[in-house]
Amino acid sequence: MSDANAGRFRAALESGAFTATAEIGPPRGADAEAVRRKVAPLRDWVAAVNITDNQGASVRLANWAGSLAAMSAGVEPIMQLTCRDRNRIALQSDLLGAAALGIPNILIMTGDHPRFGDHAAAKPVFDLDSVQLLWTARTMRDHGRLMSGRTLSPAPNWFLGGVENPSAPPVNFRAGRLGKKVDAGAQFVQTQYVFDVGAFRRWMAQVRDLGLHERCHILAGVGPIASLRALNHLERHVPGVQVPADVARRLRGVPADRTGEEGISLCAEIISELRQVPGVAGVHVMAVGQEHRVPDILRQAGLGPATHPTALGGTAHAG
């Protein structure tokens, strides 16, 4: 595989620098400017920004269009792609489209079930699972072939990632499941929110035992809890997310007008702790609805813009 097309994100990870990424949800509306507005302030702070794929099974502007809008604002996208809404024909077609548009990074995941979204009556597709879709993408890139066996000309060239939830049962299978994704083609992984650093450390120990941190860049997922309402939502309505009692207690223990700042501090502290865990390549900051606070979080965590090799891969921009 040629490194000529390696983007800023891949170059940052391969340089060994502790790398930050962020995430934005495209708007519910035909508005590319909204994407640019959200990503532009992150340009100097993160190596790339995830563009979600109808996050939470609710309809938003398309992942590829959001990725394109981010690129036009000088921000490298990580296009998320779920198995929920497309069969293998549409998935491979979208993968080719992303490559043709110059989208350098793809993050593959199963996706939330439609029952959680704004179209609960929709037909869940799930023709492929996330391991199979990673495997398909790697086959397209490295073997230059579709699932059908037909050849691709030219073959695409993406940096491929997957996701994992270190704290969801069966916890002792989660590192092994990441291993499947790495076998299938994952070169980086972004985890679900880490609030329980102890549980994450235990998972990382298993990941290191399997040597996966040497075959795959591991970015720990983090995020600020903005309010008590957000805390309740995370605890009850986000599948697979667990907020430990001490975290909830700390957020509920401050005056209501301080919850947001406490959430930011907590997130920054978690990042500092995660940075000390051997084998962790970076953090993925999911600050949904408060994307503009990502620089504050990274600053508090001691990850200034200068720590990012912005020159690598060279997304040129004026300060």
């Binding site: 079930h113 439609p114 609960a120 391991v131 086959t139 490295d142 996701v163 069966p170 599948p239 697979g240």
Partner: protein, 171 residues
């Protein structure tokens, strides 16, 4: 608990708890492994549509009762602790999604246990958790309703999965 969409329709996949202990299923499997006799039996069953239909109906009945089988015809039971992954609402063949609750509940049916959690526990209890690391290829949707036993004995299932670390193409 939530808006109920198609996920609640009677035909939608729903996590099933197997009605036979894992240990006996692993033992039974040894008796059913392909050999010349089973291959001959499978060929004989396939020779007439009637035989094939009767045998498939019997298989359907037994496997539905025990595993909640949906007759995908590409049986993943041996790679999943004899808990059927096709009863997962997302039809995941390669392990649980990230939405499993702290109590082990399915994200779509919170009152039911994640079938992959059940699969892992059953496989683990028999020292077979490593089986779950095989990379399962996608389902061929043309085969729904066919007998997976006949396919298995005839060796048509041999490409269902790749061993860990193989790095082969998915095709």
């Amino acid at each position: 608990m939530n808006a109920l969409g198609t996920a609640r329709s009677p035909d939608a996949p729903r996590p099933a708890v197997p009605r036979a202990p894992a240990r006996s299923m692993y033992l039974l499997h040894r008796l059913l492994e392909p050999n010349a006799a089973y291959r001959r039996l499978a060929a004989w069953l396939e020779r007439t549509p009637r035989r094939r239909r009767l045998f498939t109906a019997a298989e359907r009945r037994v496997k539905r009762e025990i595993f909640g089988c949906r007759m995908c015809a590409q049986c993943a039971l041996p790679s999943a602790g004899y808990a059927c992954p096709m009863t997962c609402p997302k039809q995941l063949r390669n392990g649980p999604c990230g939405g499993v609750g702290a109590d082990g509940s399915c994200e779509v049916y919170p009152e039911l246990r994640c079938v992959w959690l059940v699969a892992y526990e059953r496989a683990e209890s028999q020292g077979r958790a490593g089986d779950l690391l095989r990379l399962q290829r996608p389902v061929d949707h043309r085969l729904w309703g066919q007998s997976s036993w006949i396919r298995y004995w005839q060796g048509r299932d041999d490409d269902l999965a790749a061993e860990p670390g193989e790095r082969t193409a998915i095709t």
